[in-house]
């Protein structure tokens, strides 16, 4: 069953560009920060979250209708911006979930403002660097290389990543290239050339009860990073999801949302 998200533009004031926020579902509110790819049309993970929560997913500037990306130069700008969006939504203190780049932003926010985040779920977050396990260079990949990089089930990945795309249509292709340049151009300010902006020095500040989730077959960011995050965040637990790659959110959405529900509903 597909849930139609409500999409609206949220004002931040002070002359800043408004932000596009997707919203759906009922019950406990939850904020979801997407990864470098953004939200897909009919995003499977957003749908799954909406099945159990009242989910709010703001799009980072550079993604979809969210503009103002030129004003965000670095990690601090981006983290403070995200905090402002959550504040504008009236959701400070709500459970915070982030995937990949979104997980990096969520972890930064929880470290920067430890009293504003109560429950934190980091799904294959970026933000650390281990010399023995270099994160793959997402920025030098060609489109056809992505399913293998991002999925355990490569065939499933191919069908999910190309759903609704017509790369033979020049008009669509042009839009796609522009969108890609905007999205990954913004992502590069946090992740290029090495996705380390000093988070390891701040993770110890996080007070939120934290769940770290990782696909066992993640080839973009090895699951060993899960151990590094778990070791650095005081009140945290690591859960490895079998038969899932970096986009564990798309391969095992039910499993991931159940784990988040356990975290959020725990006393």
């Amino acid at each position: 069953m597909s849930v139609e998200p409500t999409i609206r533009m949220v004002e931040l004031g002070q002359g800043r560009a408004p932000v596009e926020v997707w919203q759906a579902g009922q019950g406990t509110p939850l904020v979801f920060l997407h990864g470098a790819g953004g939200l897909m049309p009919d995003d499977r993970f957003f749908q799954a979250l909406a099945g159990q929560f009242h989910v709010h997913a703001p799009l980072l500037p550079g993604y979809g209708g969210s503009e103002g990306e030129d004003e965000l130069k670095d990690m601090l700008d981006t983290t403070l911006h995200t905090g402002d969006v959550i504040d504008a939504l009236g959701l400070t203190g709500a459970a915070l979930v982030g995937h990949s780049m979104g997980g990096m932003i969520a972890a930064e926010l929880a470290a920067l403002a430890p009293n504003d985040v109560s429950r934190l779920a980091l799904i294959a977050p970026a933000g650390l660097w281990l010399d023995d396990h270099p994160v793959e260079d997402l920025f030098a990949k060609l489109p056809f290389e992505l399913p293998e990089l991002l999925f355990h089930d490569v065939a499933l990945g191919e069908s999910l990543l190309t759903a609704g795309l017509d790369l033979e249509d020049p008009a669509f292709l042009s839009e796609f290239l522009i969108g890609n340049a905007r999205r990954l151009g913004m992502a590069g300010k946090l992740l290029f050339p090495i996705p380390d902006r000093g988070l390891s020095r701040r993770l110890h500040r996080i007070k939120a009860r934290t769940l770290i989730l990782w696909g066992a077959s993640d080839r973009l960011i090895s699951p060993v990073y899960g151990d590094a995050f778990a070791a650095a965040i005081p009140n945290s637990e690591l859960e490895i999801v079998a038969e899932a790659g970096h986009l564990v959110t798309m391969e095992k959405p039910g499993r991931v949302v159940d784990a988040i529900a356990t975290l959020v509903n725990a006393g």
């Binding site: 522009i178 890609n180 990954l184 151009g185 590069g188 290029f192 050339p193």
Partner: protein, 427 residues
Amino acid sequence: MKFTWFNLMPWPHLSEDFRETNRSVWVDIPSRLYDPQKGHHVYNTYLDQLEYAESLGFDGIGVNEHHANAYGLMPSPNLMAAALARRTSKAALVVLGNSIALYNPPIRVAEEFAMLDVISGGRLVAGFPVGTSMDTNYVYGQVPALTREKYAEAHELIIRAWAEDEPFSFNGRYTQLRYANCWPKPIQAPRPPVFIPGGGSIETYDFCIENDYAYSYLSFTGYKRAQLLMDGFWERVDEMGADRSPYRAGFAQTICVAETDAEAKELYAEHVNYFFNRCLHVYPGYGDAPGYRTVKTIKKGALSQYTRSSLGSLGKLTWEELVADGHIIAGSPETVTEKMKELINGLKVGNIFCLLHIGNMTNEKTMLSSRLFAEEVMPHLRDMWPEWGNHDDRFWIHPLEDRLEPTVPIAVTPNAAPSNSNGGAAS
């Protein structure tokens, strides 16, 4: 017309099966493929050729900057220009150029360019490329979406450092200097002529036109493919109300000259093939880091030459096809003269960057092709822009009249007694 003899300085020892056994000639090419002992000969031969070009009467000799690139062996073009500054006295030293977003702090470029200008007696042409994505983003780690902003800030600092007579404070986002103070300053005041290498970013047009910098289109696909892009440049010149001096623009062209058309093929085809097949074997994933191009440029469809799928297939083209499509201009002096006129009139350019050494071309062939071009082609192209007096002061060097000539080193005779007791180290 101004002719600059330009050497990309390719590594000439890439194996026959380089394409099949390596992903890319650039960025991740294993450095074990570089042999420093062979490199000694390669560098010195290439420098000899640049010096020879001056003796042939070329107006400029050109070097550029690339990193982790087997077709461009000059991570530091300023070192090459410094070597040339001492051994030449007439030609412009066209450093095309320093990727100013990569120098930290970028006042380093103001200083080194000033040194080159002073040593050479005012012969420096200062090039400021944004740099390719391969060099700037992948090899030198700059954040793609911030590269242009960093470049603009570096440019502001350098130009100001040359112009100011007193130390000043510079509070940039990427560089903060309490004492910005360029010692030495260039002979050419307030600045040497500036050339901006461009590869299709439309922001670069406006930047050049506004500042009277020469737009330099460095393409390997030849003059016919360049028509659309250069038309766009001249349209922009008109829109901005600037004059149409041909010296506002330059073009790089691969050129091969022999006694006859047939001889050109016989002499040069294998080297051209080496260049297109092995040197241009760039992994497409390194072509354009997302965010490096502005949305405005992508919308215009003026994408980098490296992302064109056609580039990969250039290596498969026959000599005849490469000639017919204008990727290379090759043949007898008559043929080359005719094609060069077509290029100059078509693109309306006053500067030509002559790529006369190609791929793994031998020194003898390079000298032959260069000499034939200088003696039998160049003279017929000198009067292409009579209405501009065949020269534009804004876009060329202003050397000192009484600059020094290269000197023969003073012989050191080990047995000669020191003429005074302070000379020489105590033994």
